[in-house]
């Protein structure tokens, strides 16, 4: 099964060290489009977590039956099937949220982080480890996208949690700034996502550099950003 140290290691790796949005720079397209508010960023990440955890688990279970030469098409098929399951369930039971996230649910399959974790982790590790790896990679995306969405929403519109009624009926968004706050449009538009993301990346690198300095280690070079849409 899985040990506590192993779990912690996978968690630290997914949520911080290899954070898909801040370090690997993967999934930039949904990041740009869906982090216009906290709720949207959070819900897209939740859908991604489900897909990543399940696809990691299923691939790890079936990995011995998948011939090496055709592993990529089979991985994609497994992940695409799970994305479709999430898509259909959302259309059925969370219709409002489904309308907001729209095309970005089926597009989870094009998020490189999904295939990247299957290929790099699930194809070589046990089912439980892979389930955790997928989920924790998603957790990294979750807190980053929620923070990014929250900042964009707060600066851009002066609200937080707007649109929560689509997830939990009866709840209302919060007006943080006074009602006559004019808004700051650029943070809601796609360029704002890049600008605020850059601040978050800088903040993460600053924390790492400070921690390194405290332990009198040489500052590690920021992990290279590969990047794909």
């Amino acid at each position: 099964m899985i040990t506590w140290t192993e779990t912690k290691e996978i968690f630290h790796n997914g949520a911080w060290k290899q954070n898909s949005s801040l370090v690997q720079m993967l999934g930039m397209c949904p990041l740009l489009a869906m982090t216009t508010s906290l709720v949207n960023g959070f819900m897209l990440s939740m859908a991604t977590i489900i897909v990543m955890a399940l696809s990691g688990f299923v691939v790890a279970c079936l990995r011995n039956f998948i011939a090496h030469e055709i592993r990529i098409p089979v991985f994609i098929m497994i992940a695409a099937a799970l994305v479709t399951v999430v898509d259909l369930s959302m259309a059925a039971y969370m219709h409002d949220m489904y309308n907001i996230l729209g095309i970005f649910i089926p597009l989870i399959i094009t998020n490189c982080i999904v295939l990247a974790r299957i290929e790099a982790f699930a194809a070589k590790n046990g089912p439980i480890q892979s389930l955790f790896d997928g989920a924790f990679m998603g957790v990294g995306m979750l807190w980053t996208l929620s923070l990014l969405g929250g900042l964009r929403e707060l600066i851009g519109a002066g609200t937080l949690f707007s649109g929560i009624e689509a997830v939990i009926p009866g709840l209302q968004g919060l007006q943080i700034f006074p009602k006559d706050y004019p808004g700051f449009l650029v943070t809601i538009l796609p360029p704002g996502a890049f600008i605020i993301l850059a601040f978050l990346v800088a903040w993460k690198n600053w924390i790492e550099a400070r921690a390194a300095a405290r332990q009198h280690r040489p500052v590690p070079p920021p992990l290279a950003a590969g990047g794909c849409h």
Binding site: F65, M77, A81, T84, V85, A92
Partner: protein, 218 residues
């Protein structure tokens, strides 16, 4: 996976991978078909509910007593309404008598592309409500045509159409104030409201000309 046994021939390798891929395809297609069948009733119910809700915004349910979603008419692409695709007209009746029509119309000249609208028009030609169903207007600027984005929550911009008809507002007044008409718009964002006003007037004209045909058609 490293094969320590003798290398496979091309034919065995090809047929082996084909069989594996085939089995996986069959397996996952079955899973998807099952999930589709399981979720279909819930999806249908949710989309019917959603349709009723958006219709309810332009036509309050107290105006009719028939089954709106079944008393429909499919319009072929209609140039007068800016529609280049088939659309559905919902026909509301009260005690069997025609009460109102809910139809789709498109403003082709929005600031960034088409603006799709849902318009409710009573039998006497007055508007019960207008809602934007789809648009790509600039967030924070032209998107106040959508009441969800309108800063004026008490009296959103789009509600100024309520109750108006071609009799109450003369044809040359179906314009924004900036163009000499009677409809308000926000300074700096007149293109979106101008397009909406024009499209609503076109829908009224279309219904005025085709009213009896629309109610009677099977």
């Amino acid at each position: 996976m490293i094969h320590k046994t003798k290398p496979l021939t091309a034919t065995t390798m090809a047929s082996r991978t084909a069989v594996i891929l085939f089995i996986f395809t069959i397996g996952f297609t079955t899973v998807l078909a099952g999930v589709y069948l399981l979720t279909k009733p819930a999806i249908d119910a949710s989309s019917a509910q959603e349709k009723m809700r958006s219709i309810g915004e332009v036509l309050p349910p107290s105006n009719y007593d028939n089954e709106l979603l079944t008393d429909t008419l499919v319009l072929p692409p209609t140039a007068e309404l800016g529609l280049d695709d088939v659309s559905t007209v919902y026909r509301a009746r009260l005690g069997g008598a025609p009460a109102a029509l809910v139809l789709e119309t498109v403003a082709p000249d929005g600031y960034s592309g088409k603006i799709r609208l849902l318009v409710g028009i009573r039998f006497d030609g007055s508007i019960t409500g207008v809602r934007v169903t789809q648009h790509k207007e600039t967030p924070g600027l032209g998107d106040y045509i959508d009441p969800k984005k309108d800063k004026n929550k008490d009296r959103p911009w789009i509600t100024q159409f309520d109750g108006l008809s071609l009799d109450k507002v003369a044809p040359h007044n179906w314009k924004v104030k900036k163009d000499g008409g009677r409809f308000d718009s926000t300074a700096g964002a007149t293109i979106s409201p101008r397009a909406v006003v024009k499209a609503v007037a076109k829908a009224l004209n279309y219904v005025a000309e085709n009213r009896d045909k629309l109610y009677a058609a099977k």
